[in-house]
Amino acid sequence: MPSVGTLAFDEFGRPVLILRGQESKKRLFGIEAHKSHILAGKAVADTLKTSLGPRGMDKCMVSPDGDITITNDGATILSMMHVENEIGKLLVQLSKSQDDEIGDGTTGVVVLAGALLEQAEALLDKGIHPIRIADGYELAAKVALDHLDKIAESYPLDLKNLDPLVNTAMTTLGSKIINRCQRQMAEIAVNAIMNVVDMERRDVNFELIKVQGKVGGRLEDTMLVKGVVVDKTFAHPQMPKEVRNAKIAILTCPFEPPKPKTKHKLDITNVEDYKKLREYEKEKFTEMIKSIKDAGANLVICQWGFDDEANHLLLSQELPAVRWVGGPEIELIAIATGGRIVPRFQELTADKLGFAGHVYELDFGTTSEHMLCIEQCKKSNTCTIFVRGGNKMVVEEAKRALHDALCVVRNLVRDNRIVYGGGACEISCAIEVAKEANKIATIEQYAIRAFADALESVPLALAENSGYSPIKTVADVKSAQIAQNNPSLGIDCLNTGTNDMKSQLVIETLIGKRQQISLATQLVRMILKIDDIRLPGESEE
């Protein structure tokens, strides 16, 4: 009876109200609750299954406003699906936290969690206590993680030879829409990271890498600018389109006569006063421009706007200027050019100017759109990846794909151990876990074996998406792995003729895989531990 515990009767048979609005509250309890969780989890995982791997398909999502997103990035798909179910929401967060921490493998982690839940269902039917299943899973996860450490290979991280890094980035990009220019994108990602990497701390500051997109052109036109690209143009069309050896004044004060912040009112009663005011304003403008000139700047970048009068004055004084540059961009420019952000004209001095070797406007085809490129900066460790593509969807997806690639390269910088992808390490772990299962005397044995089966869900999905007969392919690879004792055999998704991921250069980071397994296991434990759900009823209004 689902409502046990919420209804009580006194001896006259009248129900006693214990909880607020208890008639309308829904409650699921015990095995029913478990079943409903597992169903929800599986449904979410199934949506993502077809997106896995190089032959995975994309999803098209239409938001309530009619915006279209096409992607195969697990975290993006889930966050745009607006999952209502509580357990479904947990899976969404799971993929999000994988995204936050690792940046890649967001689909894989959900598929794995879904498979673990599916296996748990069978075990629950056998009558095994859910917590014991969870315990078994955790034991198995430990075995798998240890095994991953064992089969992981240290990867040469050499600043001179970037090929290995490019290969890893290519694995990530392989499943994305932009795999047409996989190599180029991978190189861009690696170069960008190498540009900003801090080898001593083994850290990469992502704030220094900006990914800008612009519709138009081809994917191949995507490029890496060692500097900053701002979607702005010079304020006046007659200003020069190119500045060499620019000394940049970076201003966050508006180019207008300063106004008090306090509410004020200026009473002008006669013409003279009015003239005075005009004089005053004009004087202010010249004063401002003079202070810039005096400081020796030959380019002005301003966070705020300035009106036509100021614009004209700047032009006549031959001071190229850019207006309405956003806060984060101002910051990037300041860091790149080594300048200081100046909040007040009075503070402007020569040593606060930034320096850039080459500032120019980029033209795009026949459109009248322009962008501002700031290159050859004093401190060249900021860079911008400038993505081009045929339509907005492609550009957006390319940006996401590049983000994933950047994350993977960063992870390699942090920890240079790798495992082989294409399902190879999952199969290897599955074999190891299954072996370990036989050594356990308690009921957990079943859960551990189930975990091994769940691990195989990733290669199974890969094979299925690639159009192979999944069971047969995975079985072949598995037997080959055992026969040759080679953990780098995986699914040959691209039909290149070899199963050896080492020679196919399908490489994934160790920390990414470890994270997938431990996150999925911990989340599944949480889901299994719930045996009672209470939902508020339909609201009465």
Partner: protein, 541 residues
């Protein structure tokens, strides 16, 4: 025929007599039923969605009861005792409710048989006194002189608490962390000096303890990125001042009749801000934290002078920083001269570090007060929330254990010992009380029974084994969850501080007495409902 006398307002619901007592007992039992399954290492979690759609997954009795929105007056008592147990000792909230329910259940038959509640209450009081005396008597004192031994004790207590929680698998890891954090505190063990910060992403094991203060990077303006992010032995100023260019008075209005004055006012406003900034700079401060916003001008000013600033710092974070690093929260920048240097705090190292996708400010090596911050990681928000609650329980237990060095064995052992003592005692009394004390003794058995039931064991069988062991004076025998057997839980290191048990027993008995002593409920109909309806009607018209 007597005329009817109406004393109470129309619609007042009043019920009284034996049936009222019985109905109250039923209500309490219904509530107990709701959290019954959360007890012990094999206890399950509940997922509760509140009216606003916020989901909570918890194993903590007090949290669950709070979220259930119980309206039944007698059943609310249970919520209150769970809360008070939570406030007093922090753990054992489920067992206290369970115990109350069981005492009531056993008392029910006597009420039905017509025994007067006051007799029952008197007997329960007597038994409670005996039980608490017995706990004190058999509790084992651990010598706290030896730091190593004390640590071991504390860790075991923390482990026992955590074993029933979501993080049971990681309890070794977390019990160390909890004990470390508590031992970092000073004599008074103030709970608010342990901060908990939650960052989604990463696996549980990546949680860490920081000996000092840590908080999330606050909202920042342009220029922030240019500030230095690492200081050795910085001078820290804690402010309660707005560092922003703004109107000094909100509804003030200035009237100007002269253009020349315009500039003066602008300058005056700037100088207000600049005065503050210059004073701060002149005092040699490196790190400026403020509860109120720090605007873009100030940010850039500080960036220009190699100072770090963070505005809109949460109040409790600021307070913890103040406690840890010394200094005072300054509300004015006057009197910042060198003579009164105590206004600034300091620490060994200040650093900004990336955790997951968030950036955190760390203050470590604080000289003044001892403080600790836990940074929790996990796959989903609800997941970390539950981890936080679990750790809170563990911290409370450890704090209790530090102050109170006597411990008892958990896992139902102490309850069985009490049950046996009381039963033996009951046989020595002639009269009605004998029955009640025996029933009270039986109520204690609910804890081991429920532990077994949750784990799916044959509860009767295990209980009989336990009774037999306890009859042979093996007072520390309790349920062995791992092996479906009984074991000496003192040796198995399932330890709980004795105060927790004493508090639970007294609270449960008092609640039971309270519920038994009520024989009439007068429920006044909601008077507020009608006017509000009327008001609605008014609005409609």
């Amino acid at each position: 025929m007597q005329p009817m006398i109406i004393i109470l307002k129309d619609g007042t619901d009043s019920s009284q007599g034996k049936s009222q007592v019985l109905s109250n007992i039923s209500a309490c039992q219904a509530v107990t039923e709701a959290i019954r399954t959360t007890l012990g290492p094999r206890g399950m979690d509940k997922l509760i969605v509140d009216g606003r759609g916020k989901a909570t997954i918890s194993n903590d009795g007090a949290t669950i009861l709070k979220l259930l929105e119980i309206i039944h007056p007698a059943a609310r008592t249970l919520v209150d005792i769970a809360k008070s147990q939570d406030a007093e000792v922090g753990d054992g909230t489920t067992s206290v409710v369970l115990l109350t329910g069981e005492i009531l259940k056993n008392a029910r038959t006597f009420i039905e048989d017509g025994m007067h509640p006051t007799i029952i209450i008197r007997a329960i009081r007597k038994a409670t006194a005996l039980a608490t005396k017995k706990v004190k008597e058999i509790a084992v004192h651990i010598k706290m002189d030896n730091i190593k031994e004390q640590r071991a004790l504390l860790e075991k207590c923390a482990r026992t608490t955590l074993s029933s929680k979501l993080i049971a698998r990681q309890r070794d890891f977390f019990s160390k962390m909890v004990v470390d954090s508590v031992l970092m505190l000073d004599e008074l063990l103030p709970l608010n000096m342990i901060g908990m910060k939650k960052v989604t992403g990463g696996s549980l094991e990546e949680s860490r303890l920081v000996a000092g203060v840590a908080f999330k990077k606050t909202f920042s303006y342009a220029g922030f990125e240019m500030q230095q992010k690492k200081y050795l032995k910085p001078k820290i100023a804690l402010l309660n001042i707005e560092l922003e260019l703004k109107a000094e008075r909100d509804n003030a209005e200035i009237r100007l009749d002269n253009v020349a004055e315009y500039q003066k006012i602008v300058d005056a406003e700037w100088s207000i801000l600049y005065n503050k900034l210059e004073k701060l700079h002149a005092s040699g401060v490196n790190v400026v934290l403020s509860k109120l916003p720090i605007g873009d001008v100030a940010t850039q000013y500080f960036a220009d002078r190699d100072m770090f600033c963070a505005g809109r710092v949460q109040e409790d974070d600021l307070r913890r920083t103040q406690k840890a690093c010394g200094g005072a929260i300054i509300t004015t920048i006057e009197n910042l001269d060198d003579k009164v240097q105590q206004v600034f705090g300091t620490c060994e190292l200040f650093e900004e570090t990336q955790i997951g996708s968030e950036r955190y400010n760390f203050f470590t090596g604080c000289p003044k007060a001892k403080t600790a911050t836990m940074i929790l990681r996990g796959g989903a928000d609800q997941f970390i929330d539950e981890v936080e609650r679990s750790l809170h329980d563990a911290i409370m237990i450890v704090r209790r254990a530090v102050k109170n060095d006597s411990i008892v064995a958990g896992g139902g052992a102490i309850e069985m010992a009490l049950s046996r003592t009381l039963r033996d005692f009951s046989r020595t009394i002639p009269g009605k009380e004998q029955l009640i004390i025996a029933a009270y003794a039986k109520a204690f058995e609910v804890i081991p029974r429920q532990l077994c039931e949750n784990a799916g064991f044959d509860a009767t069988n295990i209980l009989n084994k336990l009774r037999q062991k306890h009859a042979e004076n093996n007072i520390w025998f309790g349920v062995d969850i791992m092996n479906e057997d009984v074991t000496d839980n003192f040796i198995a290191a399932v330890w709980e501080p004795a105060v927790v048990k004493i508090n639970a027993i007294t609270a449960a008995s008092e609640a039971a007495c309270l519920i038994l002593s009520v024989d009439e409920t007068i429920k006044v109909p909601k008077s507020s409902a009608e006017p509000s309806n009327a008001a609605k009607a008014m609005n409609m018209v």
